[in-house]
């Protein structure tokens, strides 16, 4: 799928098969290299699904433990990053279904990159984080899976344990709500997102 962010993460260099073999045999140093290389991806996925730092850290840790246990099942037909990306997604969605979540005041997470991200005119990281944070839980998770990560609806239905039709309705409502929130950040109702707010770095 052209819009899928799987492609972005799939471009991270995979660990060499020798490194993977060593990690699979229990070499802690080899596994640590994997954790260090992919922690940003795994944590980002967990944060976007769960919406707060405490839960995201727990779920990201769980994702790496599942990775460790399942290393012998990894087959090189998939790229390692895509395989781990899916482990991170399912660990995060499972965590959300299982744990009592920690409500936290919304706080924009730190980005790894130095420069301000290009998210569209008048939309910055804080706007996106706040808008996602304010979405009802039931809308946020499917909307994140669909539009942040480009997962097919069928996969979202399976991951969240909800019927396909319900998932679609939730994503549609999530988008409608985000549209209003992102526009509310802007100047006027007729302007849409584009040109709604002068960029702080302009």
């Amino acid at each position: 799928m052209a819009t899928s962010n799987l492609h972005k993460w799939a471009s991270l260099p995979d660990p060499s098969s020798a490194d993977l073999a060593r990690a699979t045999e229990g070499d802690a140093q080899a596994f640590k290299l994997i954790v260090e290389r992919y922690q940003g991806m795994v944590y980002s996925v967990a944060y976007n699904v769960l919406g707060n730092r405490t839960d995201a850290e727990d779920a990201a840790q769980e994702a790496f433990l599942r990775c460790y246990r399942k290393l012998p099942q990894f087959r090189s037909e998939a790229t390692f990053s895509t395989w781990l990306f899916r482990l991170a997604l399912t660990a995060s969605v499972d965590y959300k279904r299982r744990e009592k979540r920690h409500p936290e005041p919304v706080e924009t997470p730190e980005l790894v990159a130095e420069e301000a991200p290009e998210l569209g005119e008048g939309v910055d990281a804080a706007t996106i984080v706040a808008a996602l944070h304010d979405l009802p839980e039931d809308y946020r998770v499917p909307t994140v899976l669909r539009d942040v990560y480009g997962l097919p609806y069928q996969e979202i239905a399976e991951a969240t344990g909800r019927p396909l039709g319900t998932v679609k309705v939730m994503v549609h409502r999530g988008r409608a709500s985000l549209r209003l929130k992102l526009r509310a950040e802007g100047a006027g109702p007729e302007q849409g997102l584009a040109g709604a707010r002068p960029r702080s770095d302009a």
């Binding site: 819009t3 962010n5 972005k8 990690a23 699979t24 045999e25 229990g26 802690a28 596994f31 640590k32 954790v35 922690q39 940003g40 991806m41 795994v42 944590y43 980002s44 944060y47 976007n48 730092r53 850290e57 990201a60 840790q61 790496f64 433990l65 460790y68 246990r69 399942k70 290393l71 012998p72 499972d94 279904r97 299982r98 009592k100 997470p109 730190e110 980005l111 790894v112 990159a113 991200p117 290009e118 998210l119 569209g120 996106i128 909307t143 994140v144 539009d147 942040v148 990560y149 480009g150 679609k168 994503v171 549609h172 988008r175 985000l178 549209r179 992102l182 526009r183 849409g192 997102l193």
Partner: protein, 143 residues
């Protein structure tokens, strides 16, 4: 057909879920309805912003990798036979994911896995007791 009919379809359109004729019908409406055209543009902008957000890497908390390693080192080697306790807790974790929890009065939740876990523990004790006694009685019985 009024706009609400097409508003429904805009989401299906951006998801690529409309058939050829439905797309043609929507595009025809968009060509003379600036409101629906604006809505389509905005949905596109929201999706673009979300996809761009998803390509960004958030910084994990400090010393995250070290904490993961500290927990991973307590694990048995990958692919090694699961110790019995580990296998039981994996099973319970799986059941937990599938079954969730039983709501209790006062807003608390009793995880279903705990109920099953207690059941398993009781069964293990009973079976162990039976076995010891069974073996002993066999040992004592002259052939």
């Amino acid at each position: 057909m009024d706009c609400s009919y097409f508003r429904e379809r805009i989401n299906l359109y951006v998801d690529g879920e409309l058939g050829y004729l439905e797309v043609a019908e929507l595009q025809q409406h968009l060509s003379f309805c600036p409101d629906c055209a604006a809505e389509l543009a905005q949905v596109g902008e929201v999706r673009g912003a979300l996809a761009a957000w998803g390509r960004l890497e958030l910084a994990p908390p400090p010393a995250f990798a070290e904490r993961v390693m500290a927990v991973a080192e307590l694990e048995p080697l990958p692919g090694s036979p699961r110790p019995f306790g580990r296998a039981v807790s994996d099973t319970l974790e799986y059941l937990d994911e599938k079954l969730g929890s039983i709501p209790l009065p006062g807003g608390r939740h009793l995880p279903v896995k705990n109920v099953i876990g207690w059941g398993l523990a009781t069964a293990a004790v009973v079976i162990g007791f039976e076995r010891r006694h069974g073996r002993r009685s066999r040992e004592l019985t002259p052939l």
